[in-house]
């Protein structure tokens, strides 16, 4: 930082400048203060008008590296011109200029009166940038002083998200801990989930009736977790189906899901010792288009008359069309989705519905393996934390507000900080 006279500046400016002179990398960022350098550039030419309205420039212009990014942003802040007033203001706006590597100034943005910040997102690492802001009146433009050149910095860890990382590690740790505990043979209790208790019975029913089982894994592709959840459940379901020697049919709306579905069913048949009973025709691709797929599946439902339908995964408006058609052919339906908007329709039209979290827990539950069950116990730790946070948070914020107790208010602030995501 340069050693320009700073006596006329506020005290904090001097302190800041000193800080950044001696600790330029303090906090992983640097701040460039406006230098008192006069500038003369083409854009500041005054219009030779008798009634020229000259306005005061902005002051205290600061350019600072945007924290915790990859070095692609610089934050500007300033104190608006004293002529920028709510009533009868003579300022009609501001222009932000940037000078890249001591080149020509370039206007990068025009802002409305009253503005006092700007984020320049078009900078690159390894280049030096300095800025000035000019104040616009109806017919004149007054530039501010220029900031010292500044280089955007890259940071390696986003400290603002540290709380998220810690919370994620706590939760992940809890899940892994209980998986390990279970693996070592400790018995863990898991309550019954009605929709999943019914799976065996639903498959058995199809076997008795000699009708197929329809498995719909939602309409999204493999890049959605709900589809993954559906496939993990498919693995368990297909295993039971193979044991019962029932027919499964799985029309899908995505090619990748078709591939993954075939792998899954094939493996389940192999595990059941019946690889010969598997055929690729169990899984067919129809079309990627939402309602085209629905039209075809509806047709399949009324023609094949499945005894059991699984509707698990990501569903949109089609949820009810499929569930109602399935119901009309007399199928037992087990549905599940994590889309809150579609859950009501499944609840209304299906026999069993896995609500949100239960969908993701289903494959662990169906597997019956201790280590998988352990992961469910880990989830419960998360719920306990959430419930405690909600309880404490509401109590402290209410009491703190009511009696204005500072230490209670501090608890609230701390708690909110722990759960903030930015």
């Amino acid at each position: 930082m340069s050693s320009h006279p700073m006596t006329s500046r506020p005290l904090y400016f001097i302190i800041l400048s000193f800080l950044f002179t001696f600790f330029p990398s303090c906090g992983g960022s640097s701040i460039a203060l406006a230098q008192a350098e006069p500038i003369d550039i083409a854009t500041t030419q005054m219009i030779p008008d008798s009634e020229q309205v000259v306005v005061e420039p902005v002051t205290s212009l600061i350019a600072a590296d945007h924290k915790y990014d990859d070095g692609g942003m610089i934050d500007l802040s300033w104190v608006p011109s004293i002529d920028d007033q709510l009533v009868a203001s003579r300022v009609i706006g501001y222009k932000v200029y940037r000078i890249e590597d001591e080149g020509e100034p370039e206007m990068i943005s025009e802002l409305a009166p009253g503005s006092n910040t700007y984020n320049d997102q078009s900078v690159e690492r390894g280049k030096l940038y300095s800025y000035f802001v000019s104040t616009l009146s109806i017919n004149a433009e007054t530039p501010s002083v220029r900031t010292a050149p500044i280089e955007p910095q890259r940071e390696w860890l986003n400290y603002e998200l540290l709380n998220v990382l810690i919370m994620a590690l706590v939760l992940g740790g809890a899940v892994i801990y209980f998986i390990e505990t279970a693996r070592r043979g400790k018995k863990l209790f898991v309550r019954k989930i009605a929709g999943l208790e019914a799976v065996d019975e639903a498959i058995g029913r199809a076997t008795e009736m000699g009708r197929p089982i329809l498995f719909i894994p939602g309409i999204l592709d493999m890049d959605d977790v709900q589809t993954l959840a559906a496939l993990t459940i498919l693995g368990r379901v297909a295993r039971i189906i193979a044991d019962y020697d029932t027919k499964i049919f799985m029309p899908v709306s995505r090619s990748l899901v078709m591939t993954a579905g075939r792998e899954t069913i094939k493996a389940s048949y192999q595990a059941a010792g019946r690889p010969d009973a598997y055929s690729d025709d169990m899984v067919t691709y129809i079309t990627d288009e939402q309602f085209g797929y629905v039209a075809a599946v509806d047709g399949i439902m009324v023609r094949e008359k499945p005894a059991t339908c699984f509707l698990l995964g990501a569903f949109f408006a089609e949820s009810l069309i499929l569930a109602e058609t399935g119901n009309s052919v007399g199928a037992i339906q087990i549905a599940g989705t994590a889309r809150p908007a579609q859950l009501p329709f499944f609840i209304a039209a299906c026999d069993f519905t896995l609500i949100g979290e239960e969908l993701f827990a289903a494959s662990a539950y169906l597997s019956g393996e201790p280590k998988q069950m352990g992961s469910l116990k880990g989830q419960d730790v998360g719920k306990a934390i959430a419930m405690a946070a909600i309880l404490i948070g509401i109590l402290t914020v209410t009491i703190g507000d009511a009696w204005n107790v500072e230490w209670i208010q501090n608890i609230t602030t701390g708690l909110v900080d722990v759960f903030s995501t930015r």
Binding site: T287, E324, Q372
Partner: protein, 225 residues
């Protein structure tokens, strides 16, 4: 090799994706991955499209039931392929976007595809009615609550709601059905939504960890799972 490599790939990629959230230099990784995904999905389309053709050609060859409709499906499929890949009738020529207004692809889209799509969507109105007729019955306590909540909201959205409870004085206007509907949407409904969402978040964490750690591997065709 067959079994271990996929599990290692899943583990590594999963871990990188989790931690990239906290590491600014990796912030573009999400987009890169979704780009990879798009590219893989296109290749996979050969498998899906191939499957579609195989099924319908088989149906045709074996003269299975309803084989005539397979001709229609295949015909529609190939017409769209030709129209889109060769950009037939595209006013902008081969360089223009395939969905340019006036091209054969877009014409078929507008005049065939859109009516089909919106009609299929409109079927929902019928199914909403039949589902509510069947499902909203006071079979037990839960079902009764479901029924009451739905009925209040439905009533609140018709002039009937105001007609029935409009006499309630202003100071108790909260008891008027339309206002009750608003209150239900804003309070108990919000609570339920939040509980569901927190649960979903936790469920996803647990399932994703099982996948990343290789505990859950049915999707990989691993028969030992």
């Amino acid at each position: 090799m067959k079994r271990q490599v996929p599990i290692i790939i899943t583990f590594l990629i999963g871990m990188i994706m989790i931690f990239s959230f906290f590491i600014p230099p990796l912030e573009g990784l999400e987009q890169t991955c979704s780009l990879f995904f798009d590219v893989i999905a296109v290749f996979a389309f050969f498998l899906g499209g191939g499957n579609l053709m195989r099924i319908h050609v088989n149906k045709l060859r074996r003269r299975k039931k309803d084989w005539g409709f397979s001709i229609v499906t295949l015909g529609g499929f190939f017409i769209m392929l030709a129209a889109g890949l060769l950009k037939i009738g595209n006013p902008g020529g081969i360089a223009a976007s395939p969905t340019t207004e006036g091209s054969l692809l877009q014409e078929i889209f507008t005049y065939v595809f859109l009516p089909l799509q919106s009609t299929m969507y409109a079927l929902l109105a019928f199914f909403v009615a039949s589902a509510s007729y069947r499902a909203f019955r006071a079979k037990n306590r839960e079902a009764t609550i479901l029924l009451i909540a739905a009925f209040v909201i439905l009533l609140g959205r018709t002039p009937f709601g105001m007609l029935l409870t409009g006499w309630i004085p202003e100071s108790f206007s909260v008891l008027q059905v339309p206002n009750m509907a608003i209150w239900i949407m804003n309070s108990p409904n919000l609570a339920g939504q939040r509980a569901i969402m927190i649960g979903i978040g936790l469920g996803v964490i647990s399932m994703s960890l099982r996948l990343i750690l290789g505990i859950e591997r049915t999707y990989l065709g691993d028969e030992s799972a």
